[in-house]
């Protein structure tokens, strides 16, 4: 075996060792819209997406709580992501918004979103800081941003967003 072949074999071995690791550093995100802007949340932290049929507002609730939703007999506390992020209220309310049911929280929680965009695979190396133009309070709700076909996707920090 000539030195060139050995070198090629070493390179191949190195690639095969690093490929699975690189794969692990990629995560799937559900992209969704609030108005024209696209946001994402880790796919492994959600369990269901459904249309909102009945949103029961709770009088006296904080602004970040949209209300309670009956999802086939299970009552979810629906969080108003738009309000939590400090985004302006829509000029015309979405006719049939979606609720994204989350997993891993003590209470049954969900996020109210306007539209579902797509599922995006994002490498950790592609995650960038939030734009400097975003207010600090809003930027604190994100782990970063990633460029996807739908635009610049803000990656939500669910632990922060759910602290209503």
């Amino acid at each position: 075996m000539d030195p060139e072949a050995i070198l090629a074999a070493i390179e191949h071995q190195r690639d095969s060792e690093t490929e699975p690791q690189a794969e692990q550093e990629r995560a799937s995100y559900l992209g969704f819209y609030l108005g024209d802007e696209v946001y994402g949340l880790p796919l492994d932290q959600l369990r269901e997406v459904a249309h909102v049929n009945h949103l029961r507002r709770v009088p006296g609730a904080p602004a970040g709580v949209a209300g309670l939703v009956n999802l086939r007999g299970e009552i979810l506390c629906a969080l108003d992501v738009r309000a939590i992020l400090g985004l302006p209220a829509p000029t015309a309310p979405t006719e049939a918004p979606f609720i994204v049911a989350l997993r891993g929280f003590a209470d049954p929680l969900g996020l109210i979103v306007d539209e579902i965009a797509d599922i995006y695979l994002v490498a950790s190396s592609d995650i960038e800081a939030t734009p400097a133009t975003w207010p600090a309070e809003r930027a604190a709700c994100f782990i970063g941003t990633a460029r996807v076909p739908a635009g610049l996707m803000g990656l939500l920090d669910l632990a922060r967003v759910t602290q209503v």
Binding site: N53, H54, R56, R57, V58, P59, G60, A61, P62, G64, V65, L68, V69, N70, G73, E74, I75, C77, L79, A106, D107, P108, L109, V164
Partner: protein, 131 residues
Amino acid sequence: MSTPVTVVPLLVFEAADCLMAVVACEVGHLEKRFRDPFSDVAGENGSRNHFDLGEYFAGRESDGPWLQWARGSRRAWLRVRRVVDVVPVSIKGLTPMPAPLRAQARTCAFLAAGVSGDDVFLLLDPARLVH
């Protein structure tokens, strides 16, 4: 051997643009026509113990009947928009209020949420209402 299911009759009513409920056996009677319902009722400390639930939760006065609520020596009058029904509800079917709502000054009066048809109602504990 299955665990017996505890069913509680709840009085469901509308107030503050919301569906609420109280334990039916704690409601003495309704005053459909408006009158001063407090002439013969005083709170434990002598203060008048009445709550317009529309005003309490949403800042808008209700235009419906008054419910007389009592639990032991505690009693109060609750004004609602309208009474909907008395429905038997399984305790297991109730969901404790989520943390974001338990911590709020007003919404801490709700113990749990339940489902009536497709809609969600809030189980109110009138003992937690405060002036």
